[in-house]
Each structure stands twice: as C-alpha cells, then as structure tokens.
C-alpha cells in the first residue's frame, strides 16, 4: 500500500513537471514560429521622413527660396522632472539654449495640466546635445520633425506661399504644386534589442524615403529684391495701404518678379492676417484708370478707324455725354498720339464710342480682360467685365479710360506685354520646370501663345506712341531711365466704393516696357491709396524707373537711347 502511494505521488509529480515543460515547450514554439517580435514587444518600427521638395529661382540650384530642414521639436513633460533637479536650473539651461525667456520656460515647467507642452524648434545639433544631458536636464523631450525654411525670409512670400502645420501647402507655389513637392515617407521594420536599438540582422522591411520634386521658378531673386525694396520705399513714402509690382519677360510671358505689399514671413505665416496672405498682383481686382487707354487706342487702330496722326477735339476740359460730365486736363484739337501721351479722357472716350459696344467688348476680351490668364498660381481673379448688351449708355465712354471695368495687375501687364510683343499674347507663368530627385524633368513649362488681339504693325505703332509718354510733355516723364527708351502709361484711378467712387482714395499706376525700341521686359507698378500725392506719374512712375534701371542692368539689356551726337560717333 505504501509503495503504491509513493508510485502515485511520483506519477503526479512527473505529470506536473511534464505539463509545465510542455507548456513551456508550446510557448517557445509559439514564440519562435509566430511573429515573436510583436509578441515579446521587441518589434522595431521607424518612419523615415521624406523631405519636401525645394523651390529655386531661375538661377538654378544655387539659391533655394524654400527648403525643408530636419529639426527637433522640444517639449516639456513636467511630470518627468527628476527629484534631484531644480526646475529653475533646468529652465535656465533650456531658455539659454533655445533663446527663450527663462520666466516663460519656468511657467511651462510649473504646469500640471499636460505632459506634452511644445516650447521651441531647433535645427542646431549642439542645442540638442546640451539639452540631452540627463545629468543636467530632465522633463524635456525632443522629437524629430522637418521644418520648412525660407532662406530669404519675406522675399517672394506671396509667390512661394507657406506650408501649414499639417505639412500641406497653404498658399502660392507651395499650395499649387503641393503634390509634386510632398515627399514620400519611408519605413524600417524589424526587431530591437534590450537597449531598444535596432538589430540590423533582424531587419525585415526597409523602404527608403523619397524626397519631393524640386521646383525651378522663372522669378529671379535679384530682380525680386530690387522690386520689393522699391515697393516698400514707395509704400512708406506715401503712407500707402499697399501695392503690387510685376516684372514680365515679353517674348515668353515668364514672370521675372512679383511682389505684393504688405507682405509676411512664410515661416511665421500665422502672424499675418488672411488679407496679407493674398497675392494682390493676381487676386485683387481694381479699376485700372488711364493705363487702359493704350488698349483702347490699339483697338481703334486695329479697326483702321483712325491713325496716330488723326486729329480729334478734346474740347475745353469738360464733355457731357448721357447727361454726365467727363473732365479732362487736355484741351483743344490733338492727335491720337498726343491724346495718349497726355492721357486725354475725352478723346479716349470718343474713341470708345467710335468703336461701339460690341467691338470694344470684343477687344477687351481678346486682351483677356474678364477671364483668367491661367497663371500657375492659386487665387487668380477673372476681373469684372460686363457683357456689352448689359452696358448702360455711359459705359462705352468710361471703359476706354479704365472706369467701369475691373482688372487684375497681371491682366494689365500682360496686355502691355502683348503690345510690346508685336500683338502676340503669351500665357504668364512662374514655374519653369519641376525636377524629380532622380533628376528627371517631371514638368516643363513652355511659352504658350494665348492669342493675337491686334496686328503687329498696330502693336508697333502703339509702342511708338507709348514712348512719347515718358518724354518731355508726357505724363510719365518720371519713368525715364538714362540710356533706354521707355514706353509706358500712367494711370490714376479713383477707388470704387459702394455707391460710387472715393474722393480721397486712389490707385496710382504705371505700366511700361524696356527698351521701347526692342522690348525685353515689362513692369507694372500699382500703389493703393497713396497720400498726399496720388498721381500715377508722381507716385508709381519713379518706382518703375528704379526697377526698370536695375532690371535692365542686371539682365544686361543694351541701352538703345543715344543722343544725336553720340549716335553719330557710334556710327563712325
């Protein structure tokens, strides 16, 4: 009986041991054969950041206007502060390293409501090394991020746009070409060791990150610098509400510079209001005023209704039509050339009547007013041009002088570029090409003809007439540039307000091209609400001269204007 009891106990112990080892065996087999790294918490997973593509100016990859940088986001976790550390000491180190106010950092460390309080971003490795010293700092974490950096700060802000907190383009090129610029994330999956380091030999997946494509603009940062400086000066000098400038290459339609004021820092775009983000050069519509007269003159010349030498009566400074007066500072009988040179309202209004509603509307639409030009920027406005059948009796006398029609700055400069280009209208564009990280050209913008609103000889005639505007007796004398003939037109337009026009607020404009004899580039300057002076010839023309002079020298445009004796000597 005793022996039997021993035998039973021995069997029981053996069974228990067997069960234990069997369970252990099963467990081992399960761990080895199934996805053991997940089961044991040894799974290693890392996301590789695909940097957003860069944006360059027309000079190639020497001058990035926007690029993404690997950086670190530092955050405070107040509950992780070690007992042996004093938060005042930590705050001092953190504040000194990150360039923050010590009191602000201390206030964040005192908070109890959150374990993730972002305080600053840094791209400096030395800062990271200092703040990673666990003997010195605790309660501070860092995570890898990428930040969008704009090396030239505010330069081209409205064209470049910005990238929002979600990493998506929020305006400008960043928005328009977001899908090209966005990089593709990569990943590494495998196992990690007891020190949480990846075991290379157990790496199961490695998908490298792919950077976004690079964009090459048609804009030049040197011209843009000159433009933005000149615009800022005029806005400050005349206490203006803002302004916009566009520089366009005539043969291709490529935009060389585009600036809008007030501007903003793309890196700190949230500091600026929504209105400031708007690219006024393409997104604001305004009544252009007298700069529209060149289009009117081109239309009547193209219809062979008049010649530049045709004489018309400008009256005595006042002309009544449809019961409404039209004032003019030009008096007497003058040629069409003189009417454009001196900017006669009455003669141009009469030219509008001569054309008739239908033809006038047709020419305006042929110059692309009232429609988008299709520039590769977001937010382009169409302008306002009512159908001729809806015009009242006054409209055909007001539209030819730039009233009762609203345009964008881009439409206006493109119309002048069309005249300068022998009547051939090109599509304006700001992106030259998009290149993938492997060097493949993904997109290449080629100059595109939009139309031919007037004959080449008409365009040439209007150009010659416009050269007179900047000569003695013309309204745009201040736009003259030594050595170059300048063709252009001044414009002063009252700002439209509900119920009529403001008597105090104006748009002062000048648009023209250089050199007048063989145009290479055109420039539009519009200043909103300048004070106390508001005339386009006084406010905008000098800005044009400054920009045109700098651009002509930078682009090495040969001077075409020689005095008579110099011409004689040059011919020798």
């Amino acid at each position: 009986m005793h022996e039997r009891g021993i035998l039973i106990r021995a069997w029981l112990v053996s069974a228990v041991f067997f069960l234990c080892f069997a369970r252990l065996g099963f467990k081992l087999a399960y761990l080895q054969l199934s996805n053991h790294s997940k089961v044991t918490g040894r799974e290693y997973k890392r996301t590789l950041l695909g940097l957003r593509g860069r944006i360059f100016d027309r000079n190639g990859n020497q001058h990035p206007m926007a690029l993404s940088l690997p950086a670190r986001q530092f955050f405070i976790d107040p509950k992780s502060v070690k007992k042996e550390h004093d938060i005042k000491d930590i705050s001092k180190v953190v504040a000194d390293s990150l360039g923050l106010a010590e009191s602000d950092v201390l206030a964040q460390f005192m908070r109890k409501d959150s374990r993730y309080i972002p305080i600053a971003r840094s791209t400096d490795d030395r800062v990271y090394e200092t703040l990673s010293d666990k003997n010195l700092v605790s309660g501070l974490g860092a995570e890898d991020i990428t930040i969008r950096h704009y090396p030239q700060g505010r330069r081209m802000a409205h064209v470049l746009g910005f990238v929002n907190n979600m990493g998506l383009g929020g305006a400008g090129i960043e928005q328009q070409f977001n899908r090209y610029l966005t990089g593709t994330q990569g990943m590494i999956e495998g196992e990690k060791d007891a020190w949480r380091s990846e075991i290379f030999s157990r790496r199961s997946i490695h998908v490298p990150a792919i950077a976004g494509a690079d964009i090459y603009l048609t804009l030049d940062h040197n011209i843009q610098y000159a433009v933005e400086q000149a615009l800022q000066e005029v806005v400050e000098k005349f206490d203006a509400a803002g302004g916009w400038v566009i520089v366009q290459e005539i043969k291709t339609g490529a935009i060389l510079a585009m600036a809008s004021n007030p501007d903003f820092e793309p890196e700190n775009y949230t500091d600026a209001s929504l209105d400031v983000w708007r690219n006024n050069a393409v997104a604001i519509v305004y009544e252009p005023g007298s700069i529209m007269k060149a289009v009117t003159v081109a239309a009547v010349l193209n219809e062979r209704l008049v010649t530049p030498e045709t004489v018309m009566d400008a009256g005595e400074g006042m002309w009544f039509y449809a019961g409404k007066p039209l004032r003019d500072h030009v008096r007497g009988r003058i040629t069409i050339s003189t009417a454009l040179k001196k900017s006669s309202n009455i003669v141009c209004a009469k030219l509008g009547l001569m054309l008739g509603n239908k033809r006038l509307e047709g020419y305006l639409r042929a110059f692309n007013f009232g429609a988008q030009l299709g520039i590769d920027l977001p937010g382009e406005e169409r302008g306002i041009l009512a159908r001729a059948k809806d015009w009242d009796k006054l409209k055909p006398t007001r539209i030819p002088i730039g009233q009762g029609v609203a345009v964008t700055g881009l439409q206006m400069i493109n119309a002048y570029s069309t005249l300068a280009n022998g009547g051939v209208m090109m599509r304006p564009y700001v992106v030259d090409k998009i290149v993938s990280p492997s060097g493949e050209v993904v997109l290449k913008n080629k100059p595109k003809v939009l139309g031919r609103p007037v004959r080449p000889e008409v365009a040439r005639a209007v150009c010659e007439m416009l050269v007179g505007v900047t000569e003695g007796g013309g309204t745009g004398r201040r736009a003259a540039v030594p050595g170059y003939s300048i063709a252009g037109k001044t414009g002063t337009a009252q700002k439209a307000v509900p119920g009529g026009y403001s008597s105090t607020d104006y748009y002062a404009s000048f648009v023209g091209f250089v050199p007048g004899s063989a145009p290479v580039f055109s420039v539009l300057v519009s200043v909103e609400r300048p004070r106390p002076q508001h005339m386009g010839g006084y406010v905008a023309a000098p800005v044009f001269a400054k920009i045109a002079a700098a651009t002509a020298r930078y682009l090495e445009v040969p001077p075409d204007l020689l005095s008579e004796d110099q011409t004689d000597i040059a011919r020798q």
Binding site: L67, D124, P558
Partner: protein, 130 residues
C-alpha cells in the same frame, strides 16, 4: 584493503560514418555560430554607419541652409556696407560690350562716349602738335 578489480567498460565503437557526420554537424554549427556572430557584428556596424550617414546628411542640409541664409542679396549688401562698400550696377555709359570677335558692339553709349572723348583728345593732341 583495496581490491584490484578489473574495470569492465561497456562501450561500443561508433562507425566512422557516424563520427564523421557528428563532427561535420558540430563543425558546421560552430561555423554557423561564428558567421552569425560576425554578421550581427557587421549589421551593428552598418546600422551605426547608417545613423552616422543620416546625421551627417541632416547636418549637411542644415549647413547648406545656413550658408544660403548668408548669401541673400540683403545680407550681402549689409555685409558690404559694414565694410564701407556701397556697390551698384554700372551705368549704361560705363559699360562696353564686346562681341565674340573681340570688337566692341556698336550702338552703345559707353562706346559713343569713349570714341567722342578719344576724338576730342586726338584733336587736342593734333592742335598741340601744330
């Protein structure tokens, strides 16, 4: 008192094939272990190099950005002004454009001015000679 006993050993001599197989298995196992260890070691080195490369690449991008920050027209102008250098593009009458043949291109103010000055200088020289 110790008894001298003859020790009886119950042993079998394994066949050479079995011994050879066992030795081969053990040798292969040892080689595998060595290679595995070496691979792991190399893997760790590769991983370290990868990390180093990533860090250097990041630093290169950041350094490039710092360099670009310093080369903006605004910063260059400021830097030159700090050394008392105020520079601008030359005026049209200060430039002489030379063609591929090495001859000045016609129709330039600078050229006209140069020839005018040279002509007047020659006239003066001629007068002096007379």
């Amino acid at each position: 008192m110790r008894k001298n006993r003859r020790r009886h050993v119950n042993a079998k001599v394994l066949s050479p094939a079995v011994v050879g197989m066992s030795v081969l298995i053990v040798t292969l196992t040892l080689i595998y272990c060595c290679l595995d260890s070496k691979c792991n070691q190399l893997g760790q080195e590769i991983r370290k190099h990868e990390q180093c490369f990533e860090a250097l690449e990041d630093e290169r991008v950041r350094e490039e950005a710092r360099w670009n920050d310093k080369r903006t027209p605004e910063k260059l102008t400021q830097a030159m002004l700090s050394h008392g250098l105020e520079m601008d593009y030359p005026a049209p009458d200060q430039m002489v454009r030379i063609g591929a043949a090495g001859e000045p291109l016609p129709g330039q103010i600078s050229l006209a001015k140069f020839r005018k000055e040279r002509a007047s200088a020659e006239r003066v020289a001629q007068k002096i000679r007379q």
